[in-house]
Symmetry: C2
Subunit: 98 residues, 2 copies
């Protein structure tokens, strides 16, 4: 069972993500970001890189893709909200998209 982020964890882990373009999902303890790439190859290439990390960490995104756009939502289902794993995967995705 993964632990929900503590108040302190939220401040330290989520603040830099909000600055990087992540936002809270309305009505859910989850974060979301929409990435825009140059084309489908770049968008799906990003998804493929992120998928390998997601599987390695056994922590998977909810994501929607159409052509060059990828909308990602992160939350920890077995914790019922945001955990440190979401912050970790969000940071990794920003790195992979950069």
């Amino acid at each position: 069972m993964t632990e929900l982020l503590s108040e302190t964890g939220r401040e330290t882990m989520l603040a830099p993500l909000f600055e990087a373009g992540w936002t809270m999902v309305e009505g859910r303890d989850a974060i979301t970001k929409t990435y825009q790439f140059d084309n489908f190859v770049e968008a799906f290439g990003f998804m493929t890189r992120a998928a390998l990390w997601a599987e390695k960490w056994d922590h998977h995104p909810e994501w929607f893709n159409v052509y060059k756009t990828v909308e990602v939502t992160l939350s920890t289902h077995d914790a019922g909200g945001l955990s440190a794993l979401d912050a970790k995967l969000a940071r990794k995705m920003d790195q992979l998209a950069g």
Copy 2:
């Protein structure tokens, strides 16, 4: 510019897709299907195979993935609705998922 499916085209191309589990999207000239796989590796493996065909044919799906589930929606944006390309990609996806 891709042509919309004719009435005859709809009958011949869409009927077998409806039998294979595709349905019309409410309020849109688009078809949708939800695939369930055994796990994320199988789900994303399917997406990767489908992505290669989508790029080859320059016809891309709208799709949502969470863990072992992949929801696909197909429509031809520059035609404003369903074209033969959607039927072709739907058949290929069924083949790749099978």
